[in-house]
Amino acid sequence: MAKVESKTTLAKSDLPDVLREMLLIRRFEEKVEERFRAGELPGFLHVTIGEEACAVGVCRALEDGDVIASTHRAHGHTLAKGTHPNEVMAELYGKQEGCSHGYGGSMHLYDVERGNLGANAVIGGGLPQITGAALAFQMRGESRVAVAFFGDGATNIGTFHEALNMAQLWKVPAVFVLEDNHWAESTPESQHSPIRDLSDRAKAFGMKAIKVDGQDVEAVYKATRQALDYARSGKGPVYLHLDTLRFSGHYIGDPQVYRPKDEAKKLRETRDPIELLRAKLSMPDSEFEGMDAEVTEIVEASVEFAKNGTDPAPEDALKNVYA
């Protein structure tokens, strides 16, 4: 209990580390964009630039034993949940050393040992499974929480409704984290949702909702702790609404014809979660640059690691279909 109490807010001394983590995700994603454009990465990729505080704030707040389900926009969640950048990058290169051993790819990052039950390329696809994982925790009397990430666009799909409804009905220890970046691909929220505050979705289930600024990593952390404590104590699931921003295109290569040219740029100037924390910490430029160099090196190394990774044999494709 004491341990839980003490983690209700982030310690000041932890904040530089938090900043480093967000910066790592940022640099990782920028590198992924670069390597994709260089033609090195196959498949279909979505980066989380602008939303780093959500991934880091939520995952930092989790206890050992808690599990997550991620989305198509999975790199940040996976890194924040503790998977080494080498393993994430190796997966994007389709290598055996990748966190899904080359079977998954960007939209299917897994790291079960670290409680990451996997990213999902089907919108809403992971949500009922989080309800089910939480149900297992409840039935077994385990003090664990299951956490699902999803986007604003996902609040329109039936899977979302059924999964949250069931979770509330059975009061399972789950937290449903809405990363509300106000876009579903090219579709602005006003075109995909009839309501202007997506917290209202929770009212259909009578679920406790918490809404915070998703660009403020401390606020995200704090709200997540609150949600986790609530869920863990048996009061039922929580709907955690993070108000965030997508600075990049929907996928890498998206020309964003549907979006005012300078919208993202302008938002970035005032609402960059990394800059906001950096300012809050009044971190001297030199220190920030040192940190930046450090994470950039990690990211560079992850590319090297990935490129030197082992290609699967073609016949490896026949493995893992059945247990």
């Binding site: 696809g125 009922p128 297992a136 069931m166 893992n320 059945y322």
Partner: protein, 327 residues
């Protein structure tokens, strides 16, 4: 050997597993107080309580998905989808999630879940309550597919399905719940992937599933009267498929009929026919006959419904066709 109905046999497998293993539980619509729309789980609420005999809201997708999620945590849930037609609502979770998690994770996950469902016509439920969709799931790598036709098989196979570490789609047939049959005293697991030769014969092999096993056995008796010796084989598990047994039988009889209640077009019989013509090409003395429902949705009026679905006579006609059509 005790006698059980098909319904009781399903219940016995469920209850026995739940008695011995806390990780096994069942969830579905109206399975608790009501005992399920087919009465399969009747009485189980009293023994196991509402946590483990869990009524769910009408949410086929989430019910399937929650079972998957619990399975990912090492439990062995059985999700009951009331009618096979509603598998269309759970399809995303079954096909994109349960079937693929192990693979997409490169082997990190196992998904020991069973999706039990039932269907079948002959009682005029209309077009949305009796479809047979087993073929869909046979097409999906990562799933196992079982379709049992007798009390003994349904019990032994459900047992194996519960303890299989893979997602299993388990089909029961609505009109079979009442049939009775001998079962071993203690549950004997029946391996997934082994066909059952119900009746040996020399002249033609009938490969049948579900209700059509019984219609085919009856047809075999009729054919016998005409001097035609019919072997009847039930694959029992459609995925994996015991090709060896089927092919061996056809290599012996040189003729085959495949019978199921699902619509013939793109039904499971198509796969069996494709396998047999490939592996037993030189042994076949006649084209493989397919027996299944006519190509219509299920009509309501009994007269029309009976015309659409196959019966003993339909199998018998196919047997006659195949023995006359000598190569």
């Amino acid at each position: 050997m005790p006698e059980l109905s098909y319904r009781e046999a399903v219940r016995d497998a469920l209850s026995t597993a739940m008695r011995q293993d806390d990780d096994v539980f069942i969830m579905g619509e109206d399975i608790a107080e009501m005992g399920g729309s087919m009465g399969v789980t009747h009485g189980m609420l009293d023994e196991f309580g509402p946590e483990r005999v869990r009524n769910t809201p009408i949410s086929e997708m989430a019910l399937a998905g929650a079972a998957i999620g619990a399975a990912l945590q090492g439990m062995r849930p059985i999700a009951e989808i009331m009618y096979e037609d509603f598998m269309t609502l759970a399809a995303e979770q079954v096909v994109n999630q349960a079937a693929k998690h192990r693979y997409m994770s490169g082997g990190q996950l196992t998904v020991p879940v069973v999706f039990r469902t039932q269907g079948g016509a002959g009682w005029s439920p209309g077009a949305q309550h009796a479809q047979q969709l087993e073929a869909w799931f046979v097409h999906i790598p990562g799933l196992k597919v079982v379709f049992a036709s007798t009390p003994e098989d349904v019990r032994g196979l459900l047992w194996s399905a519960i303890y299989d570490d893979n997602p299993v789609v388990f089909f029961e047939h609505r009109t079979l719940y009442g049939i009775k049959g001998d079962v071993p005293e203690k549950i004997e697991p029946i391996p997934i992937g082994k066909a059952r030769v119900h009746r040996e014969g020399e002249d033609v092999t009938v490969i049948a599933t579900g209700r059509m096993v019984h219609e085919s056995l009856a047809a075999a008796v009729e054919a016998e009267k005409e001097g035609i010796s019919v072997e009847v084989v039930d694959p029992r598990t459609l995925q994996p498929l015991d090709e060896e047994t089927l092919v061996a039988s056809v290599k012996k009889t040189n003729r085959a009929v495949v019978a199921h209640e699902a619509v013939t077009r793109m039904g499971f019989g198509a796969e069996v026919a494709a396998v047999l013509q490939y592996q037993a090409f030189d042994w076949l003395d006649a084209p493989i006959e397919r027996v299944g429902s006519r190509f219509t949705p299920l009509p309501f009026a009994p007269i029309m419904e009976s015309y659409v679905i196959p019966h003993m006579e339909t199998v018998l006609e196919a047997i006659y066709r195949t023995v006359n059509k000598k190569a």
